[in-house]
Amino acid sequence: MKKITSYSWSIFFVAIVLGVWEIAARLYDKSFLFPSPSAILIRLWELKTELFIHHLPPTALTILIGLSISIIIGSTLAIAMYSKKPIEQAFYPILIASQTIPVIALAPIFVLWFGYSIWSKVAVTVLITFFPITVSVFDGLRSSDKNLRELMRTMGASSKDIFYKLDLPSALPSFFSGLKVAVTLSVIGAAIGEWLGAQAGLGYFSRRMMTQFDSAAVFAPIVLLSAVGIIFFLLVVVLEKHFLHWRNHQ
């Protein structure tokens, strides 16, 4: 009950924005430039087969593959940096520097390398989601309690014991925070990748409709994209609740 009331203000606000938008769009009355929310929804319904069957699956696949690769490489690198100081010194600055690269500017290179296949889009997604995951896992590992580590050593724990029983569980909350950021970024990554070169996908479809001055059809896949982002985010929240259920006891 409390949960619903805590969301009620944001629902109320969104309703007002949509209402104002609807009225403004109808008064302006140039739907090819400024479509009303109702027009977008109608267009979404009209394009449902095309969007859901042809364009949603490749985008969702790009996001899933990209995130998985980011999680695997990012966590591995974070663990390597945590366990060996020279690796941290070698990679940490590069990691930061990689974030100053404008990914959008780099994306055409990926198209050049990987062509119009799904891998050019995956590459953009990985590049954009890799950073938050690596940094959050690394910080999480570093946040493990030093006193607890020493206590475990007095109990005769090996470094392997300490890693599995202390460092990994300590890094989990931070990992999930990073994953939440990465999930929202992954949607952006996939969409950018598709703008630059694709044969299918929500980002690709949205851009194609722009060239046809069908602005309602530009918005329709964007609504879907953000829905995908929200669904993935909620999925992460559910996983987080499951793995960190002890947090409810504090």
């Binding site: 309690d145 006193n147 607890l148 020493e150 206590l151 475990m152 050593r153 007095t154 109990m155 005769g156 724990a157 014991d161 029983k165 202390l166 569980p169 989990l172 960190l244 002890w246 947090r247 006891h249 504090q250």
Partner: protein, 312 residues
Amino acid sequence: MLLLRKAFALTLEPALDNASGGKWTYDGFRPYYAPASHREVVFLCEFFEEMRSGMNMVNTVLEFTNVSFHYQATKASKPIVIFDQVDWHVQEGEFISIIGPSGYGKSTLFRLITGLENPDSGEISLNGEVATKRLGKVGYMPQQDLLMPWRTILENVQLPVELQGRKLSSDEIIQLLADFGLAGEENAYPGNLSGGMRQRVSFLRTILTGSNILLLDEPFSALDAITRLTMQEWLIDQWQKLDKTIVFITHDIDEALFLSDRIFVLAEKPVQTIREVVVPLSRPRTTRDLARPELMELKEQLISELRSEKRL
């Protein structure tokens, strides 16, 4: 003299069958016994030797021999000597308290005993043997409870057993938890428990290391006064049941006097000798015992000792 003779005869009681025929005489200063034969002399020598080793049955479980230790923050900084050729020992079954101002090596002492640090020179013996690798051999209970928030109480308590590659059954642990006044809490998380309860879990975890020596580092300092008193009485209770040797760090002199057989004072920098104070109280004790004049005097003396050192 008669009394002495009686005492002697009494100690000899089991041996009287073999040792007899000698004569008691008195030379004006002290009584002595003149054995009748060479056979009797040999027997008596053996008998006293046996008695002496019998007295040594009170084993030394922890011993420092000539231990020196220093800290050095960085290579460039000046080394700070904490211990300078310290000799020290604790006997089996004793309750020992260590008091001293902060920064005088109480925690370092524990780090040396547990093996987290090694002495620059000298030897540390555990249970009569020189132990160069001590990690995993001594039970250590830290100041904060340091329970893992992601583990249930049952899993937390299991940790030291798990690290030794063994496993206790849930039933065994549930029974132990009940003995520690934690019945029904096995599936709770540390976040659900009060400070006193968490300390008891932490203590149980320390016991399950299986070590006969338990080092407790100011375990009750974060508790409120009433809880602390309850926990002190509870600890004494457990100590008497468990047959363990306890070394207890505290900065509370009352706590030290109430709990321990002997108190060791670390009040030099660097520490060269650890002064020993025997607490003149029998057990069981009550808090009222602490108000006795001789204890008050002892307390005053300890306070002034710690204070004068602090000023330096």
